[in-house]
């Protein structure tokens, strides 16, 4: 049987997880299901906007099925939704109970500090992964059905990339919470980093001089490789996972070494 704390964490988070799952599922389904109807409008949109603007919005082209899918699901709103879900849920692992006082009774459980932090992270990490996997799972059904001509292997690469991106920021959010014990710090630090990373990736495409900054951006490793056209890029995905794992471990380490609930 799973540890009691893991089950308790899921039970406490289930409403929020369900809400995010429904939201992400609705978003994915609605945008992709109306692929044919959007086609005409998309062409107009693309003609109306200058190329620089399209680059900034992360829209390569909206004529091709892959371009359409990238523009709608993987460029801005999709990552934004799943990242917000990941950051707010991760803020609940340590920061929220520490602020509202529930931490005392949670931490009084017979677990070492590291086991406590590890179980909280494992429970939330699983929930976040489930939400982040929803676009991938739905696209497997929707893409063939609406007649988008994209290899499912490429769809899988992009969908897995989204999960890897979420792991990366979940690790960062966990570290922020484990160190500070404050929800506002988790939201501010991780939110600011996510926005900066998105901007860095967007700006690097617009100007040659800024090309190098994309190497700093997790968004580059997620979507800059153009997985919907080019398929799998395991090294880039592993970099995202490695950043997430390293920050998560650093968070467990930091939580084991500080005063809690002062």
């Amino acid at each position: 049987m799973l540890p009691a704390l893991v089950r308790k964490t899921w039970r406490d988070d289930r409403r929020a997880v369900l809400g995010w799952a429904v939201g992400v599922a609705a978003f994915t389904t609605i945008y992709t299901s109306f692929y044919r109807q959007f086609q005409g409008a998309a062409e107009l949109k693309q003609e109306a906007l200058p190329q620089g603007m399209l680059d900034f919005l992360g829209i390569a082209d909206m004529f091709s099925p892959a371009g359409y899918l990238q523009a709608t699901i993987f460029s801005l709103v999709g990552p934004l939704l799943v990242l917000m879900c990941a950051i707010t849920l991760t803020a609940r692992t340590i920061a929220r109970p520490e602020e509202d006082g529930g931490m005392e009774l949670l931490l009084a459980n017979p677990l070492s500090r590291t086991a406590f932090a590890g179980q909280r992270l494992a429970a939330t990490g699983t929930a976040v992964t489930v939400v982040a996997a929803i676009p991938l799972l739905l696209l497997f059904v929707v893409v063939p059905r609406v007649g988008m001509d994209i290899p499912l292997s490429n769809v899988a690469a992009a969908g897995v990339g989204l999960i890897a991106l979420v792991w990366c920021f979940t690790g960062i959010a966990f570290l922020a919470g484990a160190v500070s014990g404050r929800r506002s710090s988790v939201l501010a630090v991780t939110g600011a980093l996510a926005v900066a990373a998105y901007m860095a990736n967007a700006i690097s495409g617009m100007s040659e001089g800024w090309h190098w900054v994309r190497w700093l951006s997790p968004f580059h490793y997620f979507i800059g490789t153009d997985p919907l056209h080019t398929g799998w890029h395991p090294v880039e995905l592993l970099i995202l996972v490695a950043v997430g794992a390293a920050t998560a471990l650093a968070g467990v380490w930091a939580f084991d070494r500080r005063d809690v609930g002062v």
Binding site: R11, G102, E104, L107
Partner: protein, 308 residues
Amino acid sequence: MTSDYAVLTEDLTKFYGQRRGIESLTLRVGAGEVLGFLGPNGAGKTTTIRLLLDFLRPTSGSATVLGLDPRRDKAALHRQIGYLPGELSFPGRETAGDLLRFFGAARGGVAWSQVTALAERLDLDLSRPVRTMSKGNKQKVGLVQAFMHRPALLILDEPTSGLDPLMQQEFLAMVRDARDAGQTVFMSSHVLAEVQHTADRVAIIRDGRLAAVERVESLGKRAIRSVEIHFNDPVDPAEFDVLPGVSEVTVSGPVLRCTVSGRLDPLIKMAARHEVVDMLSAEPDLEETFLSFYYHSEGAGDASRAGA
């Protein structure tokens, strides 16, 4: 041998930056003992408790709990501790029953009959969500989770806060039962009356330092009584002022009022020289004792500052 002590601290010190938490606290609580840990709000009671539980790490000094190291052996140690926080806040939205099932499972399984017996004893409805409960009922949930796994050591921070007098009595009975079962109880309070009926010893902390450790009986011997004697004829206050232990003598006509610390004998002997109509002596109030010996005697300013 450290294992003879349930709690052993040596020069335990905690500073939050420049702010004092506790300083050089050396305290021994014997296994099977009930210790009342007293002091005004802000004196460092909760800091001490959180150090024992490894929520805080000491600035210097050390603590040994049930012969174990609070940090290194946290998992093994917390299985044998029942903890009631001073500021109760429950994680989640479940009913009291579901929450207690979680605590039971997390501690490796607790017989459910144990939980229902405690709930019945405290008149607690387990089917209600904890969030919707009154402060008193939340306190009962807190007590049930602290006692439910029959821990070797109960660490209770302000255990009776929010309980009505009847439930306070029930709680004190639970503490006596725990002692009879060989459990150690470490309970903090800022009210002496709360612990005087159950505690074997009282440790008094003020401004982060241990002011005194006394057996409860010896605190009683030091009791201050207020005495009022009605004589047949007016008396001279100067006669009584000089008696050992007698102070604050006021005389209005034939009525003498004073406070007596320690034995009443000198006052009685002196009063017997006159014709006594009536005599009133208020019960020794340990609260008064407590305050006079440990706050007022070393400066009332300290006590008021610590209470801020």
